[in-house]
């Protein structure tokens, strides 16, 4: 998937935490571990060390680690590791006529961040939204709170497509794209790029889950 089978020129390493983040985490965690080990051996902890070791340090280290995890979740392999998403990723990387497959095949979106590239909106708020919905995906996956076929939550924001396409000359030349009715329909979410004019983003059988809807 990452191209390592084609030689070192194509290999992309999986996401790794920066050494700074690792250092900060260890620096935060070390006093906590010391306090907790002391408590474990002696069986007593006074209030201040208890507040630090039992509440403040584990909470802050856990929050920091989750920041890393949210950053790592940009990696396509992260999304594809859940069995619900695996068929979608497999189809997108396997080529074909669907929009996701075409974009990846043409190199329009990076293979290693393909999900994130098309499922995060503009700017900081878009990133926050993408990551918060990613957290909800983890929760839904954990408790089985999902159904098939997998559907996009609300209309797909056309602004994500326009981020690249609005700048392309071919896109601007197309008559239907300059039609006022089409433009207003796309902008208010009445209809989307896929369906009538362009192929679906993902094949239906992939959206039906690992066992084609029986899962």
């Amino acid at each position: 998937m990452d191209g390592s089978d084609l030689g070192p020129l194509f290999a992309t390493s999986p996401f790794e935490a920066s050494r700074w983040l690792l250092g900060v985490l260890v620096l935060f965690a070390a006093p906590g571990v010391a306090i907790l080990l002391w408590g474990l051996v002696t069986g007593r902890l006074s209030r201040t060390p208890a507040g630090l070791g039992l509440l403040a340090i584990p909470a802050s280290v856990f929050v920091l680690a989750n920041f890393y995890l949210l950053e790592a979740s940009k990696d396509t392999r992260f999304c594809g590791s859940c069995h619900v998403m695996a068929p979608i990723l497999k189809a997108a990387l396997g080529g074909g006529k669907t929009l996701a497959a075409r974009h990846i095949e043409l190199g329009a979106i990076p293979r290693t961040e393909a999900c994130y590239a098309c499922h995060s909106d503009y700017g900081l708020w878009g990133t926050v939204q993408a990551k918060s919905s990613g957290v909800m995906h983890v929760v839904r996956n954990a408790f089985g709170l999902y159904g098939f076929p997998i559907q996009h939550n609300g209309p797909y924001p056309v602004s994500i497509c326009l981020r690249c396409h609005a700048q392309a000359e071919n896109f601007r030349k197309e008559d239907s794209h300059t039609d006022p009715d089409v433009q207003s329909g796309l902008l208010d979410g009445t209809f989307s790029c896929t369906g009538d004019c362009h192929n679906e983003a993902h094949p239906e059988e992939a959206l039906n889950g690992p066992e084609g809807g029986k899962g």
Binding site: V26, L36, L54, V61, F62, A65, Y68, A72, V138
Partner: protein
């Protein structure tokens, strides 16, 4: 009880540190599912230990006041 509370929070710290080496969604789910309850349990156990300690010291002081 305080020992158990410390053990639970050590588990939380261990999981948090292991998150930095994780790029797998399933593992992340498992980590969150284990760390969350461990954190709450650790705090709850310490709270119970504190309350018990207070109760014990109150009982001792009452006992020492008796003629």
């Amino acid at each position: 009880m305080i020992r158990l509370a410390c053990l639970f929070q050590l588990v939380v710290l261990g999981i948090a540190l292991s998150m930095v080496k994780n790029t797998n969604g399933q593992t992340a789910t498992a980590q969150m599912l284990v760390a969350g309850p461990c954190f709450v349990l650790g705090l709850a156990l310490y709270g119970v230990a504190l309350l018990r300690g207070r109760g014990r010291s109150a009982a001792l002081s009452n006992h020492s006041r008796k003629p």
